[in-house]
Amino acid sequence: MSRWADYAAELSEGFEYEPKGGVVIATDDASRAGLVDLVSRHRDIGVSAQLLDADGLREAEPHLAHDLDLGALYPDDAQVQPVLASSALLADARRLGAEVRSGNEVLGFSFDSDGRVAAVRTTEGTFGAGAVVNAAGPWSSALARLAGTDLPVRPRRGHLLVTAPVGRLVHHKVYEAGYVDTLTADTSEAQVSAVVESTPSGTILLGSSRELVDFDTTVDLDVVRRIAQRARRLFPILAEVDLLRIYVGFRPWVPDHLPIIGEDPQVRGLWHATGHEGAGIGLAPATGQLIRAGITDTPPPVDPLPFRVARPSLMAAAAARTAHG
């Protein structure tokens, strides 16, 4: 996370970096108990977090519904505008000598006599490479298949609502405590819980939904309505605010909810950096460092083992899929 702060200071292109902190809010008795437990587990692993009572919540978020009286503040939570962040990093990569070929589709791979990836074949020609990084997000399984290997990454659809610009009604990134449970409920039926935040451009972003329904870009008005209802449960003032845009997008989901970062055990020279689901932007800098350490064979910033491609939790999921036919 702190790496984003460094980028914000270093890069000449801005990307709306906001170290504003997150607030998680309990909306019913079940989530109250869950939240107290979550905060204590987070503190045990060194994440700063503190519980907030009714007054604390009011001070942090004046427009919250008055009956809400338990929450938790995560002061280190930060936000960037993902498209600006990506394009800023791309601009920097270009300055450092990278060449960007957009609108160029990968058609397949070529291998050397040892079966190692040697080149990428694209619609604009063939590019020889000692290493290829598969960072195709929800499409990374399709890319892996072109190289003759398998990844258990599937698209998990989400709806995001954007309001008209209204200024700073919301000061932190505010999550409903139920959000944490929806992360791991892997169903095709839409899981909805509120995530609400203001942006520097004055709009308010309302999420979130999660459903495993393949690459279907249709806006589901029922999901839209449910997100609006959950968000209004936290901030009743939103009833008056205009909805302006809806985005439908796909997160790269994996069965054990951990990113896949490392070299493919079957296809040497092919490195995967995928499967972060909704955490890909936040974890992008660390992912880049892990991949660099792997390719250059230098010491990694964190232990890469939990993220390796051939890990037991993914093997088990793959075995279960095969058994089901």
Binding site: E13, V83, L84, S87, A88, L90, A91, R94, V100, S102, G103, L161, V162, T163, A164, P165, V166, G167, S201, G202, T203, L206, T218, V219, D220, L221, V224, R225, A228, Q229, A231, R232, L238, A239, E240, V241, D242, L243, L244, R245, I246, Y247, V248
Partner: protein, 518 residues
Amino acid sequence: MRRTRRHEAPRGLFCGIGACHDCLVRVDGSAPVRACLTPVRDGMAVTTHVLGEGAIVSDRRVPLVVLGAGPAGVAAARAAVEARVAVVLIDLGARLGGQYHRREPEAFATSAPGALHHGWARWSEDVTHLERSPRFTHVAGAGVWAIQHLADGGMRIATDREDLPSFETDALIIATGANERVVPFPGWDLPGVLTVGGAQALLKGQGMRPGHAVVISGAGPLLLPVAAALARVRTNIVALTDANDPRRWLSGSPRGIPLSKVREGASHLATLARHGVRLRPRTAAIAAHGDGRVEEVVLARLERDWTPIPGSERTVTADALATSHGFVPDIGVAVGLGCRLDTQDASAPAVVVDRSQATSVPGVWAAGEVTGIGGADVAVHEGRVAGLAAALMLGGDVDEDELERAIARRRADAPFLRTLAGVLTVGDGWTSWLTPDTTVCRCEEVTLATIDEAIERRGACDLRSVKLTTRCGMGHCQARICGPSVAALLTARTGQPPADAGALDRRPVLHPVPLGRL
């Protein structure tokens, strides 16, 4: 009327037809409403806009919905109703007519309502027939904010009217018309600069002139009738300029312009001459200056491609500038439903239809300007074809010969449409009117410099990436105003039209709707 969020810059009436959202106000403490769509009542408390307006309820199913109450929509509705198919017609305006037959609100009714309108007799006959039909429902003052395909082939229509159930329909005719195109220039975001259509709306709707000293400048067929109407009510017209040379078609030299159109143009010019107003061809307002509102307008003579001729600039004093540069089809609904587009002109994509006005999506027809700019007469011909074709599919009482006759009549418009396409051009040279700090997207106050940075440094190479990196088209009007300009600028900078033409017209929320009404 309101101030912008970022620079707190003042805004006045601009488009006058509900597209740009520059005129948001609160009425009696209500959610913000567009002043240009809201009739004034005695005792109304109108205040400056600050916060968030819109409905979705029941499950009624109707056979046919027509979107848009202009010439095409009304002709389509009439044809379907005559074939004994029930029709629900939805429009943002309070009364039938759309932008073309815009009428005074009842409260301001003048003694001769037809005096300011063209083709009034045929129009009144259609309206009277419709309003008497038990099969016709007019849902007035309603914004459709979403349309969703249903598994059974129908569609669900969600409107922003609190009392109106969202409802289902078997078939849809898109007759959403066109928006005025305005190319940006320094100072076009000052209060006092408004579209030519906005000036017309003020005159027809409110009986008001846009200012005391008015410059009318732009291109396209709306300039002359609006200038003539303003001259008739003794407006002080400081200058009237067209960036193209309308004498080309007024002389009747290109084939296909009906004599009636040439006569109409000549009659407007004669009216203007009687009031001492001369049209300056190949001339444009390329900048407006003023402190808080328009005080001066810079006029320049233009090359054929609209590049200003150096040294030809001159400054005139004016408190209003009415400007627009033609029309672009309002394709948002069609894009949302997945209808195929003709993107040959990336700045003005149009909906592709077959001979019976059917789009590429089953159950969806399109008629009028949304299929390409052709004017009210062509729109009526297309509306009739669409209404009959939809009615035929829905099992209505349609004689196939009648449909064939309607199709033949529409086909006879082809030479006129070809000529029109050659006349209604926007020269590429307008991009040289802008300076780096010129606002391109009015809602989000995005400047040319920001767009150039996105293209040159961030690698934005299509409309979607320009939008996501600059916020162009992300504001209240959702690219209705800036969309064509952004497409043209991107084409000029990259040397090729964007691969995703039409992307800025993809609006999952077709009109802003308050979260409380979902």
